[in-house]
């Protein structure tokens, strides 16, 4: 679920196959592998980068780059999205295949899961078929050992004909050996034996290719296979790469037609080829892997029976969400209070300092009460919940719980004509909606992917649920104290999040019945084994990561927003300040939604980042009245109440925060992912309309019942 600077920023590139080297001597290494085999961990251990890791398939969706230095050689590592196959049935597979095929990688490391080697060998064999620069890295050796699974690496190396090394990347074991292998040159490749008719055709076509193509680092046998199992796009890609138009060659066409006359064409041919690869993998596995404990999955299934049980599955899910939120609320309260006092003490000092150095009043007021103050608000109110929630959620993610959520919820998504994997992208949305939108690539069907993207912002992201938490704390649990207070707070926040999830279902359903009509596509979801999370590492890295990320964003977004707000509040046309003018204009409409002009204005100005919505509201209110210093949440509550807030306003703000336009980063990402202005607009309109309707109805009902 993580949006880190590495997973979405400049360091992740997914277009183009050619990686630029800084030096001639630089070596490029591609990391391929099945989803969820610890590829990102290998990548991180080698590069020291913090590519977000988690225990679920499909976490890495873009090619990430990193570098490492070993024996005076600079290596550029490329983390390719995890795929089961290179036969290119999905977007990721295509990216992976094209990179291995046409990219300029000096070596391709295929990372395997030692506990599930047989299935992993499928991809290994397919990769070896393409090029002979492959190294096999059998990762998770320690986990295999615990499960009493023996992998004979030497025999595997002999059978595959490529270098093989065993690693346990999370502990850094075997990585040195892996890099040593990179420096060696490998030559041999294993040949998959196909059934006789295919094999005969392959021999003939390979002979033809030898005479027609000068030299290429692609395996001619593989090119032959792809010419038989014809795919227009790939063949034209290969033609470009080898500089010979294979598509027009009549000799090749003849071999293909002759094979087809024996019944091997289209589906049957592809199926037979896949079967041969799978059975070769099975043979190799039978010779190299010994399961000494046949019941090694026993414990996992026992846990699964509780977490996915008919009766306990859903309640446990809600309970876990509740526990995570409760810890967040309690912890954030303490840290917030502390940050408040420090940051606002510093504000006074800063102001005093500027007065001392005789800075003009206007300038220091802009700097202190505009820029600094919004920064301080963002840091003290918004940062603590994020910094606590994020590592906790990462913990669940590392355990392997998220795919179980998708498993539990798939039936409901199916009823909405959507994909169960949407639950995974929603979970990512908790971290950041932009990351959630990118994550939607794990959904193969374009229709279901669009639904997941459009509805992703119904999950309150890290920038929004601090809003939920602080408002709930101020307005609903203020009068009760102690454990009861935090308990009620947690319950309310959980309820609002569940409401967001229900809205996701509802809008997915409506979308799939209207603008995104279509058949439900196939669904397969791997449930990985549970893994012990590295608690210490998660907490440290995710807190630091989150903190730096939020601080970075605060400086980029909140500081300028503070400036704008201060100017709006202090520049007057006639007797009325600009901010009053704007909010006055929005007021009549906002009132219908249970908000007021200032709040709606804050949501509009908060487009670049939701973190700044509450700070803007506070700033605007403070500029209207006397400039008081707010030192804790209770004074903040008074400020809001003095500005006409009731519990109805509070609920309306929460509802609108849950359902309005996604932030500009998310919208930009949607535009990038869909390449369509239309779907970007739909993604903004759907949650906004839902929010307007829900707020309007809520307000109407509340006024009728309680007025």
């Amino acid at each position: 679920m993580g949006l880190t600077k590495n997973s979405t920023g400049i360091k992740s590139v997914d277009t183009g196959f050619i990686v630029t080297k800084n030096n001639e001597t630089d070596k490029i290494i591609a990391l391929a592998g099945n989803p969820n085999v610890g590829k990102s961990t290998v990548f991180n251990s080698l590069t020291g980068l913090k590519q977000h890791t988690g225990n679920w398939p499909g976490k890495t969706v873009t090619n990430a780059f990193g570098t490492c230095k070993y024996n005076n050689t600079q290596y550029i590592l490329v983390d390719i999205p995890g795929t089961y196959s290179l036969l290119a049935h999905s977007k990721e597979e295509e990216v992976a295949r094209d990179f291995i095929c046409f990219g300029n990688a000096d070596k391709v490391i295929v990372v395997c899961d030692a506990t599930c080697l047989e299935r992993n060998l499928n991809l290994v064999l397919q990769t070896i078929e393409i090029k002979n620069n492959v190294i096999v890295c059998v990762n998770l050796m320690d986990e295999a050992k615990r499960k009493k699974i023996d992998v004979d690496l030497q025999k595997l190396q002999k059978l595959l004909g490529v270098p093989v090394v065993g690693t346990d990347a999370s502990k850094g074991k075997g990585l040195k050996e892996l890099l040593d292998l990179v420096e060696e040159t490998s030559t041999n490749t294993v040949n998959i034996r196909y059934v006789k008719p295919i094999e005969d055709a392959l021999v003939e076509i390979t002979r033809l290719l030898e005479s027609k193509i000068d030299s290429t680092d692609l395996n001619l046998r593989w090119i032959g296979l792809k010419l038989l199992d014809y795919n227009k796009e790939l063949v034209s890609g290969i033609s470009n790469y080898v500089g010979y138009d294979l598509d027009q060659d009549s000799d090749i066409k003849m071999v293909r037609e002759s094979l087809a006359s024996k019944g091997y064409c289209g589906e049957k041919l592809t199926d037979t080829i896949v079967s041969c690869i799978v059975l070769t993998a099975e043979d190799i596995c039978n010779e190299t892997v010994v399961f000494n404990n046949k019941k090694y999955t026993f414990k996992d299934r026992k846990i699964d029976r509780i977490l996915t049980n008919r009766i306990t599955g859903i309640p446990v899910m809600l309970l876990l969400l509740g526990i995570v939120l409760w810890i967040t609320i309690v912890g954030a309260n303490y840290i917030s209070g502390y940050l408040f006092s420090v940051l606002f003490w510093f504000e006074d000092k800063l102001a005093e300092f500027f007065v001392c150095v005789n800075m003009p009043k206007t300038i220091y007021e802009i700097l202190v009460y505009g820029v600094y103050r919004v920064l301080a608000w963002v840091v003290s109110v918004m940062l603590p919940p994020m910094a606590i929630f994020f590592p906790l959620f990462t913990l669940l993610e590392d355990l392997g719980y998220l795919p179980r959520i998708a498993f539990n919820l798939d039936k409901s998504f199916r009823k909405c004509n959507a994909c169960g994997k949407q639950a995974l992208t929603m979970s990512m949305g908790f971290g950041c909606n932009a990351a959630g939108v990118v994550g939607c690539r794990i959904i193969d069907s374009p229709r279901e992917r669009l639904i997941a993207m459009i509805t992703n912002s119904f999950v309150p992201c890290n920038g929004r649920f601090p809003t939920l938490i602080s408002i709930v704390t101020m307005f609903f649990v203020f009068s009760v104290s102690g454990v009861k207070q935090t308990f009620i707070g947690t319950l309310l926040v959980t309820l609002f999040i569940v409401l967001g999830i229900l809205m996701t279902f509802l809008s997915s359903y409506i979308l799939s019945k209207t603008v995104l009509k279509g058949e439900v596509s196939a669904f397969t979801l791997e449930l990985p084994p549970y893994r012990k999370p590295k608690i210490g590492r998660i907490i440290v890295t995710s807190i630091i990561d989150r903190t730096l990320f939020v601080l970075g964003r605060a400086i980029v977004v909140a500081a300028p927003a503070g400036l704008v707000i201060w100017i709006l509040a202090n520049v007057s046309v006639g007797e009325i300040s600009l901010i009053s003018y704007c909010s006055g204009f929005l007021d009549p409409f906002a009132k219908m939604l249970g908000l007021d002009g200032v709040i709606l204005l804050a949501f509009i100005l908060g487009l670049p980042a939701n973190e700044i919505v509450i700070p803007i509201i506070i700033m605007a209110y403070m500029s209207n009245g006397s400039l008081i210093n707010i030192t804790d949440l209770s004074l903040l509550r008074d400020l809001l109440i003095n500005n006409g807030w009731t519990w109805i306003t509070a609920v309306s703000v929460i509802l609108f925060s849950l359902m309005h336009w996604p932030c500009s980063t998310t919208l930009t990402t949607i535009k990038k992912e869909t390449g369509s202005i239309k779907w970007t607009a739909v993604s903004a309109l759907v949650p906004a309309l839902c929010g307007i309707v829900v707020c309007f109805l809520f307000n109407l009902i509340a006024l009728l019942l309680f007025a």
Partner: protein
Amino acid sequence: MHNLYTLNDLDINEEGYVSSLVSNEDIRRRLLDMGLVEGTRVKCVLKSPGGDPVAYNIRGAVVAIRNEDSKNIFIKTNQD
């Protein structure tokens, strides 16, 4: 069709061997990639709260498949 069932007939802990896949192109590709070729042993390991999807052990990996898809996978009770 003696001894011939579909995958969704399996109860928890029951197993069978794939005899044929009559699924459409899209899903068949994916299942084949996961190693679900003819003759593969499949064991039913987990049912979700709503009874759909169901998770199967396929070549050492646990994979969830929806019933509407698994009813297109014919299995037999013994390997040959």
